[in-house]
C-alpha cells in the first residue's frame, strides 16, 4: 500500500531509533562553530536563519532522518580537530555506511586549520570507503564580497587538491560549494549532494526532459516539499533566480493551503468516503486529514507561469512555463500525470 496521497509533508525524525542503521547516511563534519547544526536546523527543522545564533555546541553525534524520494540520515559529528585518531572504530564504521561526507569550512574565519583537519579526514575516509563523495561547503559566504567568494573557492580548491596529489590520492570524488544559510545557496548545494545518492537520478532526469519537451515547459524541478531540496531537474540550464522563485512558490502554496481545512468529523458523508478509499487517516489531527494532493498556478506579468503539483510522498513538481503554453494546459496536466505514475513505479522498485 503506498501512501501516495499521504500527508503533504513527511515528518523528520531526529531520534536515531527509526532504524537508521539500514538507510544511507550523509555525514557532516567540520571544526567547532563552523555551522553544521545551523545547516541542519535551517534545512530540516524550519529554523529561521537568525535563530541559529542561539544554537548550542553539539556534544555528541546527532542524527536527522530525512524521508523523501529516498530515505537517508544526516549525521552531524561534534566539531573537533583530532577526529581521526587511529583506532576510532565508530568513525570508520560511519565512513563505510555513508554515501557522502559534507565538510563545512567557516569562510569568515582563518581556514588554514580546517584545511589540515579536512585533509586528514579525507585520507582516512577514502581509505575505508573509496566511493564516499567528499562535499566541501565553503560556508558563511554571506559575509564575503562576490570577488572574495570566488577567490576563497579557488584558493581552497587548489590547496586541498594539491595536498591530496602530494599523497598520491588521485581519484577522490571531491566537490566544492559556496554556501550560506541566509540565502538559497545551502539548499542548492545540499540538493546536489542528495542527488548523487539517488540511484535513479538519470531515469528521473530523462523523465523530466521528456515531460518538458512535450508540454512546452521551460524548466521543471522535482522538490522535496519540506526541505526544498530538489531531487532532480531537467537538463536545461538552471539559474538561481528560477530556483528561488520555485521554492518561494512552494512556501506560499503550503502556507495558503494550511489556512483552510475541513473538519471531517462534522461531515459524515465525507468521512465515510475516506474510509471507503482506504486512506490511513485516523482523524486525530485535523491537518493530516487531508487527502487530496495539492496544486497551484501563478501568473506573472511578464508572461511567466509557475505550475505546482504535489506528487508522491512529500514531493512536488514545480514547472516554469510561458503563457503561450497555457492553451495546452490539458496536455501539460496529462504529461504530469504520466510523470507521477512513472515516479510511483520507480519508488515501488526501490522499496
Amino acid at each position: 500500500m503506498t501512501d501516495d496521497h499521504g500527508p503533504l509533508t513527511e515528518g523528520y525524525d531526529r531520534t536515531p531509533q527509526h532504524s537508521s542503521h539500514h538507510i544511507p547516511k550523509i555525514m557532516m563534519m567540520g571544526l567547532r562553530r563552523c555551522g553544521k547544526s545551523s545547516i541542519c536546523q535551517v534545512m530540516f527543522h524550519n529554523m529561521p536563519p537568525l535563530d541559529t545564533l542561539y544554537i548550542e555546541s553539539t556534544s555528541s553525534p546527532s542524527t536527522t532522518v530525512f524521508s523523501s524520494f529516498i530515505d537517508f540520515a544526516v549525521v552531524e559529528l561534534p566539531g573537533q580537530t583530532n577526529a581521526v585518531d587511529p583506532g576510532n572504530e565508530e568513525l570508520e564504521r560511519l565512513f563505510t555506511e555513508s554515501g557522502a561526507l559534507i565538510y563545512v569550512i567557516d569562510s569568515q574565519d582563518e581556514y588554514i586549520n580546517s584545511l589540515s583537519n579536512l585533509h586528514s579526514i579525507i585520507t582516512r575516509a577514502v581509505e575505508v570507503n573509496p566511493k564516499i563523495n567528499i562535499e566541501v561547503f565553503i560556508h558563511k559566504v554571506d559575509g564575503l564580497s562576490e570577488d572574495f567568494r570566488l577567490d576563497a573557492q579557488r584558493d581552497i580548491t587548489q590547496r586541498v587538491t594539491d595536498e591530496l596529489l602530494d599523497d598520491g590520492l588521485l581519484n577522490v570524488p571531491l566537490s566544492f560549494h559556496l554556501t550560506s544559510i541566509f540565502d538559497h545557496s545551502v539548499y542548492e548545494a545540499f540538493s546536489r549532494v542528495v542527488q548523487k545518492q539517488i540511484p535513479q537520478l538519470a531515469t528521473l532526469e530523462n523523465l523530466l526532459n521528456v515531460v518538458c519537451q512535450h508540454s512546452g515547459i521551460e524548466k521543471a524541478f522535482l522538490f522535496d516539499i519540506k526541505s526544498k531540496i530538489f531531487v532532480a531537474t531537467d537538463s536545461s540550464p538552471m539559474d538561481v533566480a528560477t530556483y528561488e522563485i520555485c521554492t518561494d512558490f512552494i512556501d506560499i502554496t503550503v502556507d495558503m493551503d494550511s489556512l483552510y481545512t475541513i473538519d471531517h468529523s462534522q461531515t459524515p458523508a465525507l468521512k465515510a468516503a475516506d474510509t471507503a478509499f482506504g486512506n490511513e487517516l485516523d482523524g486525530t489531527d485535523p491537518t493530516f486529514n487531508k487527502s487530496k494532493p495539492i496544486g497551484s498556478t501563478t501568473r506573472l506579468n511578464n508572461g511567466l507561469i509557475l505550475y505546482l503539483q504535489q506528487m508522491v510522498k512529500g514531493l512536488a513538481l514545480v514547472c516554469l512555463m510561458r503563457k503561450e503554453s497555457m492553451p495546452k494546459i490539458a496536455l501539460v496536466e496529462y504529461n504530469i500525470e504520466f510523470f507521477r505514475n512513472a515516479l510511483e513505479q520507480l519508488r515501488l522498485l526501490t522499496v
Partner: protein, 341 residues
C-alpha cells in the same frame, strides 16, 4: 476626475521604535531584513500614497530624536497637529524610558485635543518578537491599560495592537488603521456580500493592490465543517506580499494565483486598478452513493465522480468564478471612483 480625499496620518514614537520600518514594509515593498538599512529619520518625512482610486494617505513619519521632538511640541506645533485624521504612536517594547514615552504620547493627545479633536488614536506596542512568547500578552495589556486611562482624560479612545515586523501582526494593525480612514468602506462591504451570495463561495476577501492590506471580507458559512485560521487575513497579506517581492527579484510582477488545495480551492486575481480579490471555496464532499447527495442531479454527480479521480479538476468551477469576477469588476470600479467630499 473625481474629487479625492486626503487623510493625514501622524507616525510618532521614540527614535528607533520602528516607524520608518513599518511604513517601508507596508507601503514601499521592503522586506523585514531591508529595514536594517534605514537611517534615523531627519525631521519629518512625508509620503503621499494613492490608496484606492480616490483616497490619498498623507503619512507624516516624524523622526523621533529629541531635538526634532522638542520642535514638534513647540515651534512646529500647529503645523504638525492640524488636520490629523489618525495618530499612530509606536512604542518600542525594549525602551528603557517607558515613562518618557508615555509622556510624549500624552503630549500628542493634548495637542490633538486642541488642533484635531476628531483624530483616531492607535497605539502599536512594537518589536514584540523581542519579548518571550509567554509574556507578550501581559506586556501588551499592562501598557494598554495605562494608555486607555490617559486617553480617556482627553476623551479619546485608543485602539491598540501588538506588532512586530517579523510576522503578520503588522498587517492586522495597518489594515485596521487604513480601513478606519476609507470613506466608502461600507459600500465595498455591501457589494462584496452580494458577490459572495451570488457566487455561492465560502469566503471573499478584498485587498488593496500595492500594500496588500485587507479592505473588506465576507465569510459565507456555506460548507459544514469548513474551518479557517482566525488570523488568516493578515497571514494572506504577509504571504502574498513576500511572494510579490520574490517576483520582483525576477524583474516581474505578481498577477494571479490559483490554489487547488487539499480542502479548498482559492483564487486571487486583480479586481480593479487598485484592488485584488481572493475567492475561497471548500472542496465539496463527494457523496459515496447517489442517494444521500443533497440535491445532486445525475449529470452533476457524474462530473463530481470524475473530479475526484482527476487531481487537476476544478477548472470548470474556476471558470465560473472567473466569469463572476469579471461581472463584478465594473461594479467595483464604480465604487472605487465614487466622488468623495
Amino acid at each position: 476626475m473625481a474629487a479625492t480625499a486626503r487623510r493625514k496620518l501622524l507616525l510618532m514614537g521614540r527614535s528607533g521604535s520602528g516607524k520608518s520600518s513599518m511604513r517601508s514594509i507596508i507601503f514601499s515593498n521592503y522586506s523585514a531584513f531591508d529595514t536594517r538599512r534605514l537611517g534615523a529619520t531627519i525631521d519629518v518625512e512625508h509620503q503621499n500614497l494613492r490608496f484606492l482610486g480616490n483616497l490619498t494617505l498623507n503619512l507624516w513619519d516624524c523622526g523621533g530624536q529629541d531635538a526634532y521632538m522638542d520642535n514638534y511640541f513647540s515651534s512646529q506645533r500647529d503645523n504638525i497637529f492640524q488636520m490629523v485624521e489618525a495618530l499612530i504612536f509606536v512604542f518600542d517594547v525594549e525602551s528603557k524610558e517607558l515613562r518618557k514615552d508615555i509622556e510624549t504620547f500624552v503630549l500628542c493627545l493634548r495637542n490633538l485635543y486642541e488642533f484635531s479633536p476628531g483624530a483616531r488614536i492607535f497605539a502599536l506596542v512594537h518589536k514584540m518578537d523581542l519579548v518571550v512568547v509567554e509574556k507578550r500578552q501581559d506586556v501588551y495589556k499592562a501598557l494598554m491599560h495605562s494608555l486607555e486611562d490617559t486617553s480617556a482624560m482627553f476623551s479619546f479612545k485608543v485602539q491598540g495592537f501588538a506588532t512586530t515586523i517579523w510576522d503578520e501582526s503588522l498587517y492586522k494593525a495597518w489594515s485596521n488603521i487604513v480601513c478606519s480612514l476609507i470613506p466608502n468602506v461600507g459600500i465595498f462591504q455591501k457589494h462584496l456580500q452580494s458577490f459572495a451570495d451570488i457566487s455561492e463561495v465560502d469566503e471573499v476577501i478584498l485587498f488593496e493592490k500595492t500594500s496588500f492590506l485587507v479592505i473588506s471580507h465576507v465569510t459565507g458559512n456555506r460548507s459544514p465543517g469548513f474551518k479557517s485560521d482566525s488570523t488568516r487575513f493578515e497571514k494572506i497579506s504577509n504571504i502574498i506580499k513576500q511572494f510579490k517581492q520574490s517576483c520582483n527579484k525576477l524583474r516581474s510582477q505578481f498577477q494571479s494565483l490559483s490554489l487547488r488545495g487539499s480542502d479548498c480551492s482559492a483564487y486571487i486575481d486583480s479586481m480593479t486598478a487598485s484592488t485584488m480579490i481572493m475567492v475561497v471555496m471548500a472542496n465539496r464532499a463527494v457523496p459515496d452513493d447517489g442517494t444521500n447527495g443533497d440535491d445532486a442531479v445525475d449529470g452533476s454527480s457524474a462530473v463530481n465522480l470524475l473530479a475526484d479521480q482527476d487531481p487537476f479538476s476544478g477548472e470548470a468551477e474556476n471558470n465560473i468564478i472567473l466569469a463572476n469576477i469579471k461581472i463584478a469588476r465594473k461594479m467595483f470600479e464604480k465604487i472605487e471612483n465614487l466622488s468623495l467630499e
